[in-house]
C-alpha cells in the first residue's frame, strides 16, 4: 500500500506534465492560420522571457472604438486573408463560419482581442523591434484560429506597403 502510494506520487508529476504538454501540442495543431495586421507594438523583456506586445488592427473594425467591450468577432474571408472582421453577438457567433472568442481570463482579460503578445528570442525580438519601426512595411501577426474560437499567435511577418496591402498568399 505504502509502496504503491509512493510510486503514484512519483509518477503523477511526470504523467501530469507530459499530459499537459501533449494537450498543449494537440491544441496548437487545431484550426487554420490567419493573418491580421497590427499597429502598436512594444518589445518587452520581463522575467518570463522576451516578447513583443502589439495591438490588433482588425480589418473593417475601428480600432479606436472603445465604446463597447470587444469580446467576440466574426471573420470573413479565406485563410489566411481576413477580408472583414465584425463585432458579433452570441447569436451571430453561432452562425459565423470563423468565430473568434476572447478569453476573459487571460493576461489581457477583456482586452484579449485588442492586444496580444508573441514570445520571441532575444535576437529575434531585437530584429522585430527594428523592422517594426520601418515605416515602409506593414506588420501582420500570423495566428492559428482554433475551432473553439481561441486565437494563438504564431509569428509576426512583415510585408511592404503597396497597392495591395493584404497578403496575397501564404508565405
Amino acid at each position: 500500500m505504502r509502496r504503491a502510494a509512493r510510486l503514484a506520487a512519483l509518477v503523477l508529476p511526470l504523467a501530469g506534465l507530459a499530459g499537459l504538454w501533449g494537450w498543449s501540442h494537440h491544441l496548437s495543431r487545431q484550426g487554420d492560420e490567419w493573418e491580421v495586421p497590427i499597429m502598436g507594438y512594444d518589445p518587452r523583456d520581463i522575467l518570463r522571457g522576451h516578447y513583443v506586445e502589439f495591438t490588433y488592427d482588425w480589418p473593417g473594425l475601428d480600432a479606436a472604438d472603445f465604446s463597447a467591450p470587444l469580446s467576440a468577432l466574426c471573420l470573413s474571408g479565406t485563410a489566411p486573408v481576413i477580408e472583414r472582421a465584425a463585432r458579433a453577438s452570441a447569436a451571430e457567433l453561432a452562425t459565423c463560419a470563423h468565430p473568434v472568442r476572447g478569453p476573459s481570463e487571460g493576461i489581457y482579460g477583456s482586452d484579449a482581442l485588442r492586444r496580444g503578445r508573441l514570445y520571441a528570442g532575444q535576437s529575434r525580438a531585437r530584429e522585430l523591434d527594428k523592422a517594426l519601426r520601418d515605416q515602409s512595411q506593414r506588420a501582420f501577426v500570423r495566428f492559428r484560429l482554433r475551432p473553439d474560437g481561441t486565437i494563438m499567435p504564431l509569428d509576426i511577418v512583415l510585408r511592404p506597403f503597396g497597392p495591395e496591402q493584404r497578403p496575397l498568399e501564404y508565405r
Partner: protein
Amino acid sequence: MGARKIEAWHKAGIIDAATRDAIIAYEADNARPVALWAVFGIGALAIALGLISVVAANWEEIPGLFRLAVHLALIATGLGALALREQKLAARSPFVVEALLFITGALGLTFFGHLGQVYQTDSPLWQPLGLWLVLFAPLLFMMGRGWPVATALMGVLLWAVWDYADSAERISGALRGGMEMALWLALVTSLPVLAAPLAGSLRGKSARSEFWRQLEQIALAYAVAGASFAAAMASAGVFSSSDAATTTAAMALRGAVGVAAGLALTALRPGLSGRMAGTIIAGAGLVLPLAYALNDLDIPAAALFMVLWAGIAAAALKAGWRGVFQLAVGVIAARLIILSFELASDLLLSGFGLIAAGLLVLGVGWGALKVSRRFAPENAA
C-alpha cells in the same frame, strides 16, 4: 569549535584530559566542511545561472520540442533518483534529498512557463500554480524533510489562493460578485490555515517531524499575519463600508475557519506546545470579524491588535518559546509607538513635541527591552 578553546578549558581545569581528547576526536569525526560546501554551492549556482541565460538568449535557435524534452527529462531524472535512492541518500544526508526534491519541484513549476513560451499560450497564474500543487504536493508531502520544501509548498499554496481570489474579484467585479462569491473567496483564502492541524497531527507520528513542524508554523504565521493585517486595516479604516453584510459574512467565515483550525490543532497535538499553537490560531480567527466590527475606530482597533499579540506573548510564556515572546513584546511596543503618533500627529511639528516623542519612543523601547529580558522564558527543550 576551535581546538585552542578546548585546550584553554583543559588548562583552566574545567575539563580533564580524557574529556578534551574525546571532544577533539568527536569534532574531527563530525566536522562539517561548511566552507567547502559553500564553494561547491557557488560553483553550481554559477553554472546553473549560466545555463539558464544561455538557453534564454538562444532559445529560438533551439527547437521548442527539444527544449521541452530536455526539461521533462531533467524532471524525470530527479524523480527517478528520488524513486531509487531516496533512502540511501537520506541516510547519508537528509539535506541532499531535500535539495533534490526542491530542485525537481522548481523544474516542474518552470515547465508551465516553458510550455507557455513554446505554444504561445497564457493563463492566469493561479491555474499553473494550482495544477502544480495537484501534481507535486503528494510527492512533497511524502518526502519533504525540512524548511525548503515546506516553505515552497505553503508559498505556492498562498500565492495560488490569493492570485485566484484576486482574478476572481476582477472578473466578477463587473458582475458585482455578491454574497456567494465573497463567501467562496473567504473560504478559499482561509484554507491554508488548515495545514496547521494536518501537520500537527502528523508531527508526532512521522520520522520527518521537522518538515511537519515547519508546515504548522507557516500556517500559524499566516493566521497571525492575517489577523494583524485585518486589525491594521481597521485602524486605517480601509474596509469598504458599501456592502457591510457581505464583508461581515466573509470575515465571520474566515474567523470560523481559523477557530476550527485552532481547535482541531489543540485536539490533534495534545502537548502543551500544540495547545498553545492551537489557541493562537483560534484567537487569530476570532480577531478577524472583531477587526471588521471596529473599522475606523482608532483606539479599539489598536487595542485589538495589542490584545492579539499579548495573547501570543502569554502563549509563548506558557509554552516556553523565548523568541516568540520577545517578538510579541517588540510588536506591541512598535504598535504603541505608532499609536502615539496616530493620536497626536502634531507631536512632530514643534520642538517640544519632538522631544516628547523621542522620550516616548525611548521609554517604550526601554520598557520592551526590560520586559523581554526579564520575563522571557528559557527555551523549552
